[in-house]
């Protein structure tokens, strides 16, 4: 009888242990833990190994960092930068007071000069990612002005001016110790790596896997530092465009219906990409083919 009890207890222990193993590790694989800093180190190291000839800061120049012929063309174009008109317009708009007498300078740290590298940031008050473009429109609305369209026009000009005042300052994106910030970062990371659209592409398909290679007439820019030059004058567009314009056109190129500008997913994507690029200097406004 005691032997039977011992055997029963032993069986019970084995069953409990088996159940614990199943719950703790034997079932579905556990999702990755969020470790943005480890992600960033791996991301930057990956591009460093892939393009050992490219100085880290040069990733701010997108395709020109990885293609000598394109760089030569770019250097020629930069004799007369095509974004100069936008810069002038943006400076004038930035310095022109609103109807209430206040100005953009009142809405930003350091009066909006040399702050591009700190955007986007996680706004702990709203619990969401705040972009430079979104903050410009919030500033306008707070001062009784109509918001600007996000993709082209004055928004591109004002951000061009603000970027120009921040040139050479390294991206310095922070992820606060806030689960909502971690979630926003994770959402951006997921968006970046998720395949979508009829062509079954992800952002990473072009800007990680095929970075530096040709896609028809284009050289694909590496993902690291890819936002440092925004806003950009793109020859393909024949005009200036913001990050929203690029995100929506990328989506369309994948034959995926673009999200609205400043959609949460796009802002989270910008947060992820900018954080991955920490240390890369701001080079905007830029020019691209």
């Amino acid at each position: 009888m005691p032997n039977r009890r011992i055997r029963a207890r032993a069986s019970l222990r084995v069953a409990v242990l088996a159940a614990a193993v199943a719950v703790l590790g034997g079932a579905a694989p556990a999702p990755d833990k969020t470790d943005p800093l480890a992600d960033q180190k791996a991301f930057q190291a990956s591009f460093g190994e892939r393009f050992p000839q490219v100085p880290f800061a040069d990733f701010a120049n997108g395709p020109y960092a990885v293609s000598a012929p394109m760089r030569k063309q770019w250097e020629d174009i930069m004799q007369f930068p095509p974004y100069d008109f936008a810069l002038d317009e943006g400076k004038t708009a930035f310095e022109t007071p609103f109807a209430n007498g206040k100005s953009y300078a009142d809405c930003f740290a350091n009066k909006g000069i040399g702050v591009r590298q700190d955007f986007p940031y996680f706004d702990t008050k709203t619990g969401e990612v705040a972009t430079l473009d979104g903050t410009i429109n919030r500033c306008r609305e707070a001062n009784g002005e109509k918001p600007l369209p996000y993709q082209v026009g004055l928004m591109a000009s004002i951000t061009a001016y603000m970027a120009e005042t921040s040139r050479d300052k390294p991206f310095d994106i922070k992820i606060p110790d806030d689960p909502r910030a971690r979630a926003a970062y994770e959402d951006g990371k997921e968006y970046f790596y998720t395949r979508r659209g009829q062509l079954n592409f992800s952002c990473a398909s072009c800007h990680v896997g095929a970075a530096g290679q040709r896609l028809r007439g284009d050289i694909l820019a590496p993902a690291i530092g890819i936002l440092a030059a925004f806003p950009i004058y793109r020859s393909d567009w024949g005009s200036m465009g913001t990050i929203d314009r690029r995100f929506t056109s990328c989506s369309a190129q994948m034959r995926s219906e673009p999200l609205p500008p400043q959609d949460k997913s796009y802002r989270d994507l910008e947060y992820f990409l900018s954080y991955m690029s920490n240390g890369v200097p701001i080079s905007g406004p830029g020019t691209r083919p």
Partner: protein, 100 residues
Amino acid sequence: MTRVALAFMLLCSVPIAAHAADKSEAESAIAGAVKAEDAAGKLGNRWIPAEASLKAAKAAFTSGSWDAAVAEATRARLLAERAVEQSNEQKTAWRDAVIR
């Protein structure tokens, strides 16, 4: 025998009339496409060609072209279903692409 062969050849030469869709078939096909597109939209993955086909199906329906409406709506539905499959597969598959 010759008559049978002749009759067979005559039968083969008569074009078999294709099934022509009617209004209710077109309505049903469009409803199916809309449902599939909504499902893709909920996953944030509407495909541009699916949207274009659905729009074309609705336009064909408005003009009374039931066959064209069914063809476009069917294409839209199939594309939208692929989009849903893609999104469901990517719910976990994206992690395999992460740089580590």
